[in-house]
């Protein structure tokens, strides 16, 4: 898939939630921070040094004989318009940091965008693997295969005692952050979210909203990740996060069962109303849509709503964001126009028969 295809379609690999465990765990991500020895971190680079690190990495990819890297595409960020960059952010493929930065930033990505390497973001390399469902070990394995392939060509900054050296001290060590995007409507509804998050912080984990650090949670979507990168092996980080995720998923399922048995009508009513609003609204904000989509997702999970695929719901998480809407509309849009277009896209995607009214 070249960059144009990637930009023009909604679907990317992580949305493909056909696995049974993908009902609550939407996606898993592993990213590794790496830097090239002898070059300043991106934040400290002058233009030439930035250009050099970008060039080193492009060369490493170009000359690699590893079949994994051969399937990648390369692009520099200055080849993309602001809208296109924003589309990649909305797809969760790149960070807002890569967009806001200076020149000499680039991107390497594989066919289905399950592997994306950001170049000259906070570190020289941010190797990411993003998969649907709870697949932390798989994402870990793939990330290390990419890491190994690149390490054959590049000399990474590494300290025997401290591990991988990174721009921000919180990443030193493994340079690894693993995260899981969880959909926790019942836990949130029951008021259990805060105590759970408090406990997670005690064991070195953190919870963020849909679009990473500093973003509010919307649509009952939470990103659970390791806070600590030092003193644990990569395998331990992944295993701990997986264990914790499974516990939270289990608790979410228990609370869902409880809600279902204690007030089945109220639950079905809430879900059905959200479906009714989503399939009929003519104007809708992004946050309201995410909240209503969360109810519909719960309805699909519980078998109360049929004929809607989780894939369509994952696609909508992204398709209703401003840049995607503007790509659809073919130009800049005012907030009212976005709310109008967003409502239209949701109605289309949820396949409301036109004969309804």
């Amino acid at each position: 898939m070249n960059i144009k295809q990637l930009l023009n379609q909604n679907l990317v690999s992580w949305m493909n939630a056909t696995r049974p465990e993908a009902t609550i765990a939407i996606s898993s991500r592993v990213r590794l921070a790496r830097n090239i020895k002898g070059l300043p971190f991106p934040g400290k680079q002058n233009h030439e040094q930035g250009s050099q690190s970008l060039q080193y990495i492009e060369e490493a990819w170009k000359t690699s004989t590893n079949p994994l890297l051969r399937g990648f595409d390369f692009i520099t960020m200055d080849q993309l318009s602001d809208l296109e960059k924003q589309i990649l952010v909305e797809k969760h493929l790149i960070s807002p940091g890569l967009v806001s930065g200076n020149s000499n930033r680039g991107l390497l990505f594989n066919e289905d965008a399950s592997i994306v390497i950001m170049i000259n973001e906070e570190d020289h390399l941010r190797i990411q693997c993003l998969l649907p469902g709870l697949q932390l070990q798989e994402a870990c394995k793939i990330s290390f295969r990419v890491d190994d392939s690149l390490e054959q060509k590049l000399d990474f900054a590494f300290d025997e005692k401290r591990g991988y050296l990174t721009s921000c001290p919180t990443n030193v060590g493994t340079g690894m952050r693993a995260s899981v995007m969880l959909h926790l409507p019942a836990t949130n509804l029951s008021g259990q979210i805060k105590p759970i998050f408090y406990n997670l912080a005690q064991v070195g984990m953190t919870v963020r909203g849909l679009y990473g650090e500093g973003t509010e949670s919307a649509g009952n979507l939470f990103q659970l990740s390791n806070q600590v990168t030092l003193g644990q092996t990569e395998e331990e980080i992944c295993n701990n996060l997986r264990t914790m995720s499974l516990q939270i998923i289990n608790q979410e399922q228990l609370i869902r069962e409880k809600l279902k048995s204690e007030s089945p009508y109220r639950l079905e009513d809430k879900i059905s109303r959200s479906y009714g609003i989503l399939t009929n609204a003519r104007l809708i904000t992004s946050n309201e849509a995410l909240d209503l989509l969360s109810d519909v997702r719960l309805g699909v999970d519980l078998g109360l709503i049929k004929n809607i695929k989780p894939l369509a719901l994952n696609e909508l998480i992204v398709a209703i964001r401003p840049a995607h809407l503007q790509r659809e509309a073919g130009g800049e849009m005012k907030p009212l126009e976005r709310d109008l277009k967003r409502a239209e896209i949701i109605r289309e995607k949820l396949h409301v028969p036109t004969s309804e009214k």
Copy 2:
């Protein structure tokens, strides 16, 4: 139509809103208060006197050769169960006062229940004619034909100076109350309702909610009626009310046009969301349903919602009330059960295709 048929079907004459002016004026009612000379008012009657007045009226009906009265049915209230009485109240055919009273109360009604005579309510006779749309003059004419027919057989209490004598002094004179049920969503939304009602009070008119005196307005339905029964002829009362109604209807139409042109998307969004909730909710209270039905009615009037007939909306005003729900369900219901049944009936009546989800 006998009483069982009347009780078992939702539709009554006033709901048949096929006339073009029936979009804002739902129905028109005229009622005449009459008392039999020489008998105490119902509130002052002992059992024997009550029985006597009931008997006089039944006899007047039975012996009348007037074809209009021949088509009537007669029933005493003690032949009806509490649920059945409540069903008649919900259909707007009898007053709550007729239900809560003592024995010796009765009812005369014609084939399509457009004419109903309450016996021994506040007065010996309350002759009512209830028609769909704005048909005050027609309702007036019919009421007087019934009045004349009965007067051939009964001697009504009448004073040359004061006119018809009635139990409550506010009815003395013509004994007539004329009213129009108006649907005023745009006027209400724009905050114009209060000033209009204030002005109406200045010219001797009053506004009540859906179920008469002391009831709250719900679903933007307002009953406009004359407050004064003395010093005006029946024709003047009807004409004044009609003129005032036409002014209010005109203003409602102007505000609708304004809303449509100033914020078409917001208006369509509000209407569509209400439709979406009504056709999907699993639990709904009576007041919420009336408010949402008001939006849908506005949508039908404005051509935004098709395939829903005003008749169905009028039917729903009544079919979602507690007694009608309990008749449907075949027994007593708790509030939650009513909310469930109400939501079911609304979904059925609005004909949501089952293939929707």
